[in-house]
Amino acid sequence: MPAETRPPDAKAKLLAGLREILPSEAIIAQREALRPYECDGLPAYRQTPLVAVLPGTIAQVQSIMRLCSRLAVPVVARGAATGLSGGALPLADGLLLGLARFDRILSLDPLARTARVQPGVRNLAISEAAAAHGLYYAPDPSSQIACTIGGNIAENSGGVHCLKYGLTVHNLLELKLVTADGELLTIGGESLDAAGYDLLALLTGSEGMLGIVVEALVRLLPKPPVARVLLAAFDEVGRAADAVGELIAAGIVPAGLEMMDRLAIRAAEDFVHAGYPVDAGAMLLCELDGTPEEVASQLECAIRVLRAAGASELREARDEAERALFWKGRKSAFPAVGRLAPDYYCMDGTVPRGRLAEVLEGIAERSRRYGLPVANVFHAGDGNLHPLILYDANDPEQLRKAEDFGAEILELSVAVGGSITGEHGVGQEKLHQMCVQFGPAELACFRDLKQAFDPAGLLNPGKAIPQPRHCSEYRELGGDTLTPPSRRGGLDG
């Protein structure tokens, strides 16, 4: 329900109900105090919520959901708000449910290799706690110092190590979920599978639309004793892309296989001085890990393959310090590129590895056409692209171009058999491209699934799954060549 159709006392009623559940310091209702909650990691979309709350117990979350069900107030969950698709964007007439106070690691079982954590625990904090036992939590998004496990589950986040160790969905055993009507469900368990349908898979990546994650049991892996990283420079992007395929064809599954193009290399080098090859057209970081023997054998093979694939320079990190530096450059590439222009717009399409070279060329061609520079820094081993479009949001013309360019990149990814999002989610941002990737029957199925969990449509409504009218409007407006005006609705800040 849009804000203006709500009776004016809606906020008062909600606040009265919340005060019975939460201490007053856990309720934020003043406009100024709500400012920090108005966007996530995609600040082009901003909206102040009606009210924000910071509960600290599962029982409180259940009561909040019951209250919101009764009052028909929509609810948006928020972890650390590092999401890059507007998934945690509040609703004007909705409650923002912050999970920051659920920040405890409840238990860690080194023998069973699991950690039981609250949803607001930071991704990196799990690995830090597990380190004492020689274990770690494998999915490592570049945002891992800040992002929460609840957000990771909602987005099915990946990281530089997921080619070998999987995404969030592969490293999760159980979650506790509060449903829209306040019921507490346990999905999965300590065993490797559970009776009934694989709801754990369905819920992972569901963008906060099917339930609120209030606890999770994650799998920990033994830390490989050895990790070595190779830096390979190439004259051009296409050669680097082909080398990726050659490595896989040789039977190597690297722990990480990342690519950066010239613009990204230079930006990162200026930022962290990692010793990157600033004259190269592209570079690969290829990490191999395992036992000393395993790594030695793979390293030898990888060096041979990369040479044969035309690497103009090939270096192994000399020591642990240099290895950390190589990765630091990669992990800070987004902020580094961010310094090159007032704003950047990060895309997240995936493509079959074999089409990487062609898609990168397609992006370069569009970059020339739109007159907006693009830096590419991405998970090459997974075929997960992250083109960063550089623009100035204060120039409406550039903003429009950046959005259209982004939409074209996603549609290009779909056209070559890929997806509009590999790990950042659909959120508010990619609703229209969902109409390109899926047909009406699949979209209807998604809507029915949401209804099965959330009949009243109160959990993060309007995100991730477009309504049929979105798609018909988008098609009428010419799909991939135009961005419909409705898309600008949230761009007011």
Binding site: L111, A112, R113, G134, N156, C162, L163, G166, V169, H170, E183, L185, G189, E190, S191, L192, D193, A194, A195, G196, Y197, D198, A201, L202, T204, P222, P224, G245, I248, G251, I252, V253, G290, T291, E293, E294, A296, S297, T350, V351, P352, G354, H379, D382, G383, N384, G417, S419, I420, T421, H424, M434, Q437, F438, E442, L443, C445, L449, Q451, A452
Partner: protein
């Protein structure tokens, strides 16, 4: 090679209009597990063939009626494999059946289960609509993950038409070690080894004998084998194959008599359950096979109290079905999901959990 999608969809549409229940039929290799399903058989074996396979993409897409054995032979020819080692339980087992049952073999705890390798699927829902989810790329978070939801749903949410799977390179070398250990020691040792970075790829125990499989680069396997000790088993691969296919003597149906073979899925570190019967451990302790005459109530209660669940694999089906009963809240949710995909409940009615 035949694409029967259109014909199969028409058949489901017709059945839906007539509210005619359909029993999805592959080769019948796992029919003993899905004996609760009833209805007219819907023959799926003809819908077969590899749709695409590019070894360097590590992805294969095949029609559901494709013989598992044919698919695995194709991969082996390219030094690749289905890393979750799906049990076939019959020479003609199909890919669709393997995915619908969602079973995984000895490598599962170390590399992942069937659901972990599914990248996409095309299916026919209970209305006869063809739907396509996921794709052939490694990462894809657009929309809900319906393809993984199909794994282990025993065809009750849709007729699988084709499946895209991630494949992995075959390890350079595999070695099987045999060690003597009492059950409790074996369990502890399996878990301790799994929490270290060793190239472990299977761990089983029965009657005082623990077996471990190591996989990887030749030198890595040799060095781990030296460290762990024990004897080498000459025909190691045959052993793991027999375990996966339930052809070890332990599984001999003649031994069963009136007893049941239970699959207990438990937290791997759980001490041995106090249940009378013969027990074989797989999955490093996370999957335990129990041959027992105890009643289903007793076995299930023990499994649930230990944090797991029990499936009756062989022997007479318990009154409330072969699968572990769900809590009332979970059952309601399952019914709503069934409604989404199959509103007239015509696909494999009775599976995977009996609807009242």
């Amino acid at each position: 090679m035949a694409d029967l999608s259109a014909r199969l969809a028409a058949r489901v549409r017709e059945a839906s209009e007539q509210r005619q229940p359909l029993r999805l039929a592959g080769s019948g290799s796992k029919a003993f597990l899905s004996d609760a399903a009833h209805g007219e058989p819907l023959e799926l074996r003809g819908h077969e063939g590899i749709v695409s396979y590019q070894p360097r993409e590590l992805v294969v897409r095949a029609r559901a009626g494709t013989r598992l054995a044919d698919l695995e032979a194709l991969l082996a020819g390219n030094r690749q494999m289905l890393a979750f080692e799906p049990p076939a339980f019959g020479a003609d087992a199909t890919l669709g059946g393997a995915i619908a049952c969602g079973l995984s073999g000895p490598r599962r705890p170390y590399v992942g289960a069937a659901r972990d390798f599914v990248l996409g699927a095309q299916l026919i829902d209970g209305r006869g609509q063809r739907l396509r989810f996921g794709g052939e790329v490694m990462k894809n978070v657009a929309g809900y993950d319906v393809s993984r939801l199909m794994v282990g749903a025993f065809g009750s949410l849709g007729v699988l038409l084709d499946v895209s799977l991630k494949v992995l390179p075959r390890p350079q070398q595999e070695t099987t070690l045999v060690l003597e250990h009492a059950l409790t020691d074996a369990l502890a040792r399996m878990n301790r080894l799994a929490s270290r970075a060793l190239p472990l790829s299977a761990a089983s125990w029965h009657a005082g004998v623990m077996r471990l499989r190591l996989s990887g680069a030749a030198e890595a396997v040799a060095s781990a084998a030296r460290e762990i000790g024990g004897e080498r088993q000459a025909d190691g691969e045959a052993y793991w194959q027999a375990l996966r296919e339930q052809r070890l003597e332990f599984f001999d149906p003649a031994r069963l008599g009136g007893a049941r073979l239970w699959r207990l899925s438990l937290p791997p570190t759980r001490p041995p359950l106090d249940l009378e019967g013969d027990c074989l451990l797989d999955w490093g302790g996370a999957q335990r096979w129990l041959i027992s005459e105890l009643t289903p109530e007793v076995v299930r209660r023990a499994a649930a109290e230990a944090g797991g669940h029990a499936t009756c694999f062989r022997g007479p089906a318990p009154e409330d079905g072969r699968f572990h009963p769900l809590t009332p809240a979970m059952r309601r949710l399952h019914q709503r999901l069934k409604q989404v995909f199959d509103p007239r409940a015509i696909l494999n009615p009775g599976l995977p959990c009996r609807t009242p």
